[in-house]
Symmetry: C2
Subunit: 253 residues, 2 copies
């Protein structure tokens, strides 16, 4: 019970938030109790699910910096079985505030203890960096899910990400494993995409999900309606493939 | 002489590196002497221009942390009139190393003094964050160029970016101005793109460039050949629009 999956890649715009929201919603639609934890100061997971940032009871910043109990800020989303720990722009200041704290890498791991028993899956949406917020997420997580765009720059950063993964595994969280590698924004019109997938498969072998997320305009429109794609455009290719991905993550495929 | 333009937006994947490389190359093709400064530990500007990261004389990390003179690591690219200050993964450790240094926000401003007189334009490619690397870039720069993707999440982060711009302008660099706002990855097939452009124009008025960068597969292929798009696919829409943008930045349009 309570598998904690960090969704991380320091390369920007690769589909971390889109995966957190839509994988979360598809896992919830399959009957799992799912918690989405927004660890990115941009708060895109929070706004992509239509949560009003000005009406929050509190956010993850208050939990990490002021010790507010995490259950006090947990709230429901418009999606049954999917709750969220929201974030706000205040989180941008957290990294500098915790850099000289005792046990600074384990603050999140300790803070989320009260919710672990309640959910089947806890997904952590990380910011595009390998700083202390992402380190906290990797230290609290059981596994790491890596979205990789089918683009040239996508491969550049993977070595750095794996270095950080190995450091966390060695010193902070020996149980950390790779959940899987998800290819995103696949555009069949370009050869480059196929080359990138081949390269990633050479590196990660059977860790690469069979589900490949295509570039699909419904996925980029859904957050402007505050909904995951399975509620915004259920028949779209984006909804279909994220549903397949959820089956792979549940071990059904 | 020597206009320093920081290209920044903490939202990931909006086209900062693509703009740094291609605007840089188009300004160079028009006869300007241009320097590209890669301040992103992912080193995408460095690899996107085909620079071998293992054959570097040094990188910006050595300049910022060890005081190596910046002219010692400056190198040419395959593009006439375009030089680069390369970066490597070492830079990822710089932010934590400089957080408690005296004058930590002005380290880059002091370090780049020797090159200011040599170039007509110095473009700084920033990482997807508002941490000390981006703050150093904003403190060293004359102006800020903001790439914004024509997508829903793009608007979310602009307020945070403008807060940081105002803080830097008030306390560190009173001369800092907005160079312009560049709409990127425009996909005419979706209404959302038009809505985002309208919204951005309401906010930034005449600071929004007339040139709107379309989503164009040649732009994403060019870096895998180590070339800017004007050398990789000179007749493409991507090459055409970045050439127009360079004219606007030079004040010719
Ligand atoms: N498969 C897809 N097809 C089309 N658009 C997509 C797809 N996946 C994501 N997008 C869009 O691309 C942009 C980047 O995706 P997203 O914000 O999820 O990436 P991210 O990795 O979370 O970014 P950041 O690094 O800023 O956190 C968003 O505007 C999103 O709506
Ligand atoms: N107009 C465009 N059309 C198609 N692809 C593009 C365009 N602009 C950029 N890209 C591609 O989209 C991806 C993101 O662009 P880029 O890396 O320039 O963004 P960035 O803001 O520098 O990202 P980061 O936040 O990680 O630094 C890259 O793979 C790039 O090749
Ligand atoms: Mg995100
Ligand atoms: Mg970049």
């Amino acid at each position: 019970l309570g598998k904690i999956i960090a969704i991380a890649n320091q390369k920007g715009g690769v589909g971390k938030t889109t995966t957190a929201i839509n994988l979360g919603a598809c896992l919830a639609a399959a009957g799992n109790k799912v918690l989405l934890l927004d660890m990115d100061p941009q708060a895109n997971s929070t706004s992509g699910l239509g949560i009003d940032k000005d009406a929050l009871k509190g956010c993850i910043y208050n939990v990490l910096i002021e010790g507010l109990p995490i259950l006090e800020i947990r709230q429901s989303t418009g999606v049954p079985n999917l709750d969220i720990i929201p974030t706000s722009v205040q989180l941008a200041g957290a990294e500098i505030e915790i850099v000289s704290r005792f046990n600074r890498e384990r603050i999140l791991k300790i803070a989320i203890t009260p919710v672990i028993g309640i959910y089947d899956f806890i997904l952590i949406d990380c910011p595009p960096s390998l700083g202390l917020l992402t380190i906290n997420a990797l230290t609290a997580a059981n596994t790491l899910l890596i979205p990789i765009q089918c683009e040239y720059y996508a491969l550049e950063g993977v070595v750095q990400l794996m270095n950080t993964y190995n450091l966390v595994k060695e010193h902070l969280n020996p149980a950390l494993e790779i959940e899987g590698v998800l290819m995103t924004m696949f555009d069949a019109r370009t050869n480059l995409a196929i080359q990138v997938i081949d390269e990633v498969k050479k590196h990660f072998k059977d860790k690469v999900y069979k589900s490949i997320i295509p570039r699909n305009v419904r996925l980029s429109e859904a957050p402007s309606h505050g909904k995951p794609v399975i509620l915004y455009a259920a028949k779209s290719k984006g909804a279909e493939v994220y549903t397949d991905l959820a089956k792979e993550v549940m071990g059904i495929e």
